[in-house]
Subunit: 418 residues, 2 copies
Amino acid sequence: MANFSEFQPLNENTLIEYIKSIPALSSKLANNFSDISVKEVGDGNLNFVFIVSNSSGSLVIKQALPYVRCIGESWPMTKERAYFESLALKEEGKLCPEHVPEVYHFDRVMSLIGMRYLEPPHIILRKGLIAGVEYPLLAEHISDFMANTLFYTSLLFRSTTEHKRDVAEFCGNVELCRLTEQVVFSDPYKVSEYNRWTSPDLDRDAEAVREDNLLKLEVAELKSKFCERAQALIHGDLHSGSVMVTRESTQVIDPEFAFYGPMGFDIGAYLGNLILAYFSQDGHADQANDRKGYKAWILKSIEDTWNLFHDKFAGLWEKHRNGAGEAYLPAIYNNPEVQLLVQKKYMTDLFHDSLGFGAAKMIRRIVGVAHVEDLESIADTGKRATCERRALNLAKMLLKERRSFESISEIVSAIQQF
Amino acid sequence: MANFSEFQPLNENTLIEYIKSIPALSSKLANNFSDISVKEVGDGNLNFVFIVSNSSGSLVIKQALPYVRCIGESWPMTKERAYFESLALKEEGKLCPEHVPEVYHFDRVMSLIGMRYLEPPHIILRKGLIAGVEYPLLAEHISDFMANTLFYTSLLFRSTTEHKRDVAEFCGNVELCRLTEQVVFSDPYKVSEYNRWTSPDLDRDAEAVREDNLLKLEVAELKSKFCERAQALIHGDLHSGSVMVTRESTQVIDPEFAFYGPMGFDIGAYLGNLILAYFSQDGHADQANDRKGYKAWILKSIEDTWNLFHDKFAGLWEKHRNGAGEAYLPAIYNNPEVQLLVQKKYMTDLFHDSLGFGAAKMIRRIVGVAHVEDLESIADTGKRATCERRALNLAKMLLKERRSFESISEIVSAIQQF
């Protein structure tokens, strides 16, 4: 019998022992271990992920290791991140249960989360985007997730007492924040051993990023917001690899980077990754499918996502205008003109933040350490470089000129021009 | 023998017993209690302050009570603030020992700080400003305090690991932050039982503040920064009542409102209170002294304070450019042009923040709960109202148009025009 009172990485055998010892987990399998199947599917960068199932049911066990899995033990990374992931999953699950997998069990010593298995045909959204699959409810669902999780954890709904308590708690997730600071806001703008890009095609482009003073000025402002501004509980890594989808279902997973940060970081991460998916389509086009229709769908999804988010977020604000939120007290913001004025400013600032963070997330996926499969899977490097350069140039423009855009339709037009 | 193992408010008798029980305190009096003198001098709003002295030495005992002293037990206020005050005094004392009184002892159970007694002729700066006393080293000293405490606790000097650790700790001072949120950013802009103003003279002016949508828009932005932006360890209440002075010495006291917040809140509090002092001078003018010379000195002090702060802060930045600070990594901000660009933006944003917070602090002192003696001590209500209206109108203009100012000399010109 293994000892689970101190941390140990599980394997397929000890995993079963572990599940047997935890009723909240074994009950999901009807305590039947005779026909059990276990599959390790952690294709992410950081963790072990086991799918455990039998004829009665299924679950997922996710275990954090004390280093970045894709790089190895040379890049240590606190396994305490599992604690923050479980906190975030539970909070997001309360605020948006339709789009967050249920947590069955958390074990801080083992850095282990037991949760719902998102059964087939759920796949990672990124893989669906590469395959050219349209998801008719995606924008509706993801805007629900963003509006609910961001609004309800902000000072539009919360008291400053609750806010400071939760900000303090999530300050503990500093190591994951530091990973983001490095790979998003720092490495792409300097010479770093971790950076890579399609070479030699993009050598000059990568160098241009490192030599662009105005770009560096803007990225510093975003980094400052990321490090200093506790606006809401953000997912912290809301790209298309953190979303699982079917045509009917959208589930947001993997919030291990969660902390109180700027809302625009989540919105931007999601939109930026859709834009990367858009620019990768030409690399996936072939004689059977020119991907033109799919590119139009992605653009529509980008536009819908922001517009739906905007309206839902503003709707929640309206609904809770006289609630406990302390940012805009109803006794002060007491007439329609001033309510419109503050909301317009809030949403415009959030839009510009989202564009900035989205652009930064695109840039880092092209000249930084971790790339996206949307582009990586384009075998022809010349084609890939062309797609990447368009995305990079759009992102640089967005980062520098984001404040001149007023609506998402202007962004869609700009994307089409690159 | 009293029992100090649980909280009790001290009186002049139990105070002596307490001091006897603490070597770090009794040693300051050479353990000699025969010729001791005790004086309670807490003229502030929140605490007991005892001066204890004998022929061998002296010390101050400051004890926090579990309510706002000036209002009474009906306004509860955690006595845990003494813990955060002691933390801040120690940190500020390390960073700027010349301008912060030494802490001898802290007792969390008793909410009690034992510290250096600032001996005569030290007086509260506000009283000196009312009396018309010039302090030739004041701008030099206070700019030292602000530059050192703000720079060294910001991400210009610190790693994000240290930053998040300390941000989390000071999140515990939430009740004091909430008091500021209420009295600075909320009450003056709504009907509140606590508000008062020179009536009936300023009735219409107070109403105009409550009805000014653009003012409310701007104050919301500042409140958001106050609640969400952990830029540096700020004093949190840096007005002229929190500074003790002689011609040679400047000492910053009372950081019980300290937390990680926007730097401009400290700078603005200080400058805003100097501007209030300026506008109060006409109310103190008489045939013997028209105060014109003194008004010019105040204006010069305002200008010098910002300019000296700017140069010292920029100097510290330059000095530590290659240090551990993580906001602007030297490998990214690696050429003089980009260094100038980011510094110019940083200092301009900080200037505008300071103007905004300073203006908000002025407004609340004229139409909010707690007024300043500079104006309150003008016996002639008509004269007082005139001074207050000028200050209020300047502050409203500054709050709304702060982004159009580029230098402190433009602010001085604006002050002179009101």
